[in-house]
């Protein structure tokens, strides 16, 4: 489930608000321009990791637990190098673009 948005990493672009298929986030309106959105409907999260893929600032973290909130702290996510890890793996961040065409499925299907 979505666990946290890092207030220091997030630039308030609200891309996650738009792209989350389950409408989990809520933009913070008014004067607070640039503020991080809130995780308004956490229980609706389907643990699809797509907010991480689309966040340009690697500012949010989705824990693998689909049913429970783990309450993991931002420091622990950062220490484990998990911020932005999915985006790097699919080649969507600078320095990792080669991964976009690294799909090796054709080698795994071969024996069948």
């Amino acid at each position: 489930m979505i666990e946290l948005i890092s207030p220091t990493r997030c630039t308030g672009c609200n891309i996650c608000v738009s792209i989350c298929p389950m409408d989990v986030f809520q933009a913070v309106g008014g004067q607070a321009k640039g503020a991080a959105p809130t995780i308004a409907r956490q229980a609706d999260c389907q643990t699809c990791f797509l907010c991480e893929a689309h966040c340009p600032d690697d500012a949010l973290y989705v824990a693998p637990d689909a049913e429970t909130v783990t309450g993991i702290a931002e420091d622990a996510v950062a220490a484990a190098g998990l911020f932005g890890s999915y985006r790097r793996a699919i080649g969507w961040s600078t320095g990792h673009r080669d991964n976009r065409s690294a799909d090796q499925t054709f080698r795994l299907l071969a024996p069948h």
Partner: protein
């Protein structure tokens, strides 16, 4: 939102009997509901054929649906007659000899063309050691981001976070648009259209299978309310392996897994392919563990590069899946990797209702895989192909219909119609439906007794839901989702009861063998009364492959 310039006047709000005001109404030639692979291919095809096209998605076109989160292998086979024949033959028995070779040929051709288009549009297919493009799979986020871009470039208007709740029909019963709610902007929307494509995906009953919680069978319910029927709904019990704590139901890599009990003893016969029911049997009473210890270390890097999302749960939970055991579960994917859905009546992917087309998981894919898909490639090929044809068919239908004025009526029932009972408690109804469709002993291993008991309870739930007072606008989406899952469960189990044999993914403990006399397809439909009838399966070529009278 405003009317497109020069568009015919939208129906008056009162003519739609919405009671409250309507925040957005638009006009289109073709309205596509759902923006996964099927919906995006449909929208591009319709717009390319000159139709003014709108695509409405419950979530966000580009991230929503099963493919965006998961990625798929593709039924991409070179147009070499021997390879094509082998590809078709490979699934013949698994599918219970119900597929249609004419449709398979069309889908293989169309998929080959569509994947070629993806390459032309810049999809970054990998290269092998010989420098050849390998086009047998796509990564979900990459593929669907590209599809969204192409939909926009084709001139389609996208309505994100705009779930459709019901269809609009004209006085003659033809489909003439749809209406729904705006999840983020608030209020309701309605689109008047000359043709509608249902591409809302399958129904996975909010099981949290990867990317599937937007898939609650909404399009099946809407279409049935307008008079469409379904087919193959007995082939709707796909269960996929996932780490017990997680959502990632990708199963390809479990071909390298060993499955064990808590004490480490290997479970005889347990396997991802051909032994999944063994896993289900053990899971009914005790935990099952997996470890990908049958993969040679040389393959580990390739596995990670093939499926980065498969490894997310493990890397984040601090588990090395190649060397450490982890508990697994089976999550229901329902019709997403089953084969049942709306029945198509011709090669334009039309349904039984004029003006209504269907594609992807929302349409029965029995024509290409009979009663079984499970893992692999046919589903994605079907979404691309049926999406393309449905978009073209809808555009042709719209052009033929012309611009005459039509009265519109809302076709939605349960949760929307005026009823005397209490309004639907969506959370409670969802749990009640899940209690009938999740358990392996009812849905995986089927018996007359289990199905009959579940149906009695589901029928009672339906009569309450059908007589419920309308839900308030902010609760109407959840209420409709619950009603759609309920309707889907009833079609599934009525069909499963009628098929007194085991075929494809449909397994009856009390009729364990395949019955050659039941090589037929089951049509199912109806809401208050569900009815099932058999129709002949497509003819088969003789074993030599010489006869070709089947491509009706």
């Amino acid at each position: 939102m405003a009317n497109a310039p020069g568009a015919p006047a939208t129906p008056s709000v009162s003519s739609l009997a919405f009671g409250a005001h309507l925040e957005a109404h638009l006009d289109a030639d073709v309205l596509v509901l759902g923006g996964g692979p099927a919906g995006t291919w449909a929208a591009i095809a319709a717009a390319t054929a000159g139709a003014r096209t709108i695509l409405a998605d419950k979530g966000f076109c580009g991230t929503s649906g099963a493919t965006a989160a998961s990625g798929t292998t593709l039924w991409y086979v070179d147009p070499d007659p021997a390879k094509r024949a082998a590809a078709k033959a490979a699934r013949e028995g698994l599918g219970g000899h119900l597929a249609d070779h004419g449709w398979m040929d069309r889908v293989l051709d169309r998929t080959h063309a569509a994947v070629g288009q993806l390459a032309d549009w810049g999809y970054p297919f990998p290269r092998d050691a010989d420098g050849r493009d390998r086009r047998v799979s796509v990564q979900g986020p990459e593929y669907m981001r590209l599809m969204r871009r192409r939909v926009k470039q084709a001139g389609v208007t996208i309505l994100d976070h705009c779930p459709a709740l019901e269809l609009l029909v004209d006085d003659g019963g033809a489909v003439a648009g749809a209406a729904g709610v705006r999840r983020q902007k608030g209020g309701r929307w309605a689109v008047r259209a000359k043709a509608v494509v249902i591409a809302t995906g399958g129904c996975a009953f909010l099981s949290k299978a990867l990317g599937c919680n937007v898939l609650t069978g909404d399009g099946l319910l809407m279409a049935a309310e307008a008079g469409a029927d379904l087919s193959g709904m007995e082939f709707s019990n796909a269960y996929a392996i996932a780490p017990a704590f997680g959502s990632v139901t990708k199963t390809l890599l479990y071909q390298w897994a060993s499955f064990t009990r808590a004490d480490g003893a290997v479970i005889p016969g347990a396997a991802s392919k051909g032994g999944r029911s063994v896993i289900a049997r053990v899971l009914a009473t005790e935990p099952v563990y997996a470890r990908l210890d049958r993969a040679e270390p040389e393959l580990w890097a390739a596995m990670r590069q093939a499926q980065p999302n498969f490894f997310l749960p493990f890397d984040r939970a601090g588990i090395d899946p190649f060397t450490q055991r982890f508990p697994v579960t089976l999550r229901l994917e329902g019709t997403v990797r089953g084969t049942g859905g709306l029945r198509l009546v011709d090669e334009t992917c039309a349904t039984a209702v004029p003006g209504l087309f269907a594609a992807g998981d929302a349409a029965s894919r029995e024509p290409i895989c009979g009663g079984f898909t499970g893992g692999g490639s046919h589903n994605a090929a079907w979404a691309m192909s049926s999406g393309h044809w449905a978009g073209q068919g809808a555009a042709d239908h719209a052009r033929a219909l012309g611009n005459g004025a039509r009265n519109l009526r809302r076709a939605g029932g349960a949760g929307l119609r005026e009823g005397k009972g209490a309004s639907i408690d969506a959370a409670a109804l969802t749990r009640a439906v899940q209690a009938e469709v999740f358990p392996y002993h009812i849905n995986y291993f089927r018996t007359e007794e289990g199905l009959t008991g579940a149906l009695a309870r589901l029928d009672r739930l339906w009569s309450n839901a059908a007589g419920a007072a309308p839900s308030p606008a902010d609760g109407s989406l959840r209420a409709r989702e619950a009603a759609a899952m309920l309707a889907t469960a009833r079609w599934m189990y009525r069909s499963a009861l009628a098929r007194t044999e085991s075929r494809g993914m449909h397994r009856r403990l009390d009729h364990a063998a395949l019955d050659p006399a039941q090589r037929h397809l089951l049509t199912v439909g109806g809401l208050d009364e569900v009815h099932v009838s058999a129709r002949p399966a497509p003819l088969h070529p003789d074993p030599s492959g010489a006869t070709r009278e089947l491509a009706a």
